[in-house]
């Protein structure tokens, strides 16, 4: 499926092909450590077990202190 991802840290929006099911698998595909981010959909925070839906727009927010 194709989903849209806004990455807060990179300030970029990109389309991503994803063949898995959960947020956890998506983060794994993107090589993002789940400890370092929060994932939201329509301003709602998702846990790692949440299912990714076709045409989802997800935001990946960084939790790391910036300095």
């Amino acid at each position: 499926m194709e989903i849209t991802i806004f990455n807060e840290r990179k300030k970029s929006t990109e389309k991503v092909h994803f063949s898995g099911t959960t947020i956890q698998e998506l983060l794994h595909q993107l090589k993002i450590n789940a400890e370092t981010v929060l994932v939201t959909r329509n301003n709602e925070v998702l846990t790692e077990e949440e299912i990714v839906q076709e045409k989802d727009t997800l935001e990946i927010l960084s939790v790391i202190s910036g300095g």
């Binding site: 789940a34 400890e35 925070v45 846990t47 077990e49 927010l61 939790v63 910036g66």
Partner: protein, 312 residues
């Protein structure tokens, strides 16, 4: 995943179970208040300065310190925030805007100090000049100056306690850095009540977010609707700390509870470390240039200022 307390949709999975928005906020606030009580971080009659930057940790600690005072009927005139503007372009000016708005919205007095006014140049300008002589990374200069200014101005404005936004991640990183570098003397100054204690010139530093992870703090700010623009210091990836941070997050992902384990072990060892560390009253002198506390004739902040003066 549903909340273990009410069955609503969970926003986070913690070691002991999943929580919904409402129960996470409750859990987080009570963890912070318990930390304050357990380690006796805030006294009834103290003037309290919150070291603030506008980032997620400082806004959270500022908000919850105020809430703690209110819930315990401690007068709010006891509270103010202090920000150090280091002069880091494309970074600090953004977080200060968020901080100013936040303090205005929450009726908290905000004091500002600029590195440039105190030392003669912004960090951006100063560190390459200081580096030439001393091979110091920006973070070394930044850290020395920020600690110096926070202590000096917190004291000047009458504070007995300096609240900082250091969280579980910061502490676990600091502990590992000091262990890797065999800095046991500095490690003895970590902990929820940190810095050099029992010395008139030092304002006691305390860390109410001591047991809260980066992820929990960011989630709290998000759920509370605090406005934070994501801003990252341009120098943050240059440091040793950054590598420790990555290592700890890799471990945490594989072995949940790693950071908490590091901090718990450290808390168990801390009394012994403090006992063997030299007493501050015996080792701390006053800087011959600025009269602030120093371990040598001239304090670290002034020696950097001197190098800068000669280079400008």
């Amino acid at each position: 995943m549903n909340c273990e307390k009410c069955g609503k949709k969970a926003v986070i999975v913690l070691q002991h179970g999943s929580l919904c928005k409402h129960h996470f906020i409750d859990h987080f606030e009570s963890k912070v208040f318990k930390t304050i009580n357990r380690f006796q971080l805030i006294g009834r009659n103290e003037k309290i300065c919150v070291a603030a930057s506008g980032g997620k940790d400082s806004l959270t600690v500022l908000y919850l310190t105020k809430k703690y005072l209110q819930e315990n009927n401690i007068p709010l005139q006891n509270l103010f925030a202090l920000v150090v503007d280091e002069g880091i372009q494309n970074y600090r000016e953004h977080t200060i805007v968020d901080l100013e708005r936040f303090c205005k919205d929450h009726a908290i007095i905000l004091q500002k100090v600029k590195t440039e006014d105190e030392f003669g140049a912004t960090l951006d300008k100063a560190y390459p000049l200081i580096n030439k002589d001393e091979h110091k990374k920006p973070c070394n200069v930044c850290g020395v100056w920020r600690r110096y200014l926070l202590n000096k101005y917190a004291r000047k404005y009458g504070a007995e306690t300096l609240v900082t936004g250091h969280n579980l991640d910061d502490e676990a990183q600091a502990i590992m850095m000091n262990i890797f570098k065999a800095n046991t003397k500095i490690a003895a100054r970590l902990g929820p009540k940190s810095g050099i204690q029992e010395h008139d010139l030092f304002v006691q530093r305390v860390k109410p977010l001591y047991l809260c992870s980066d992820k929990e703090v960011r989630l709290y700010t998000l759920l509370k609707g605090f406005t934070i623009q994501f801003a990252e210091c341009p120098y943050s990836s240059a440091g040793y700390r950054h590598q420790i941070q990555e290592m700890l997050n890799d471990f945490e992902e594989k072995y949940t509870g790693t950071k908490q384990g590091i901090v718990n072990s450290f808390l168990a060892l801390l009394p012994a470390l403090k006992e063997t560390a030299p007493k501050a009253v015996e080792t701390i002198k006053q800087c011959s240039l600025c009269q602030e506390p120093a371990e040598h004739d001239v304090c670290n902040a002034c020696s950097m200022k001197e190098i800068l003066k000669n280079a400008l």
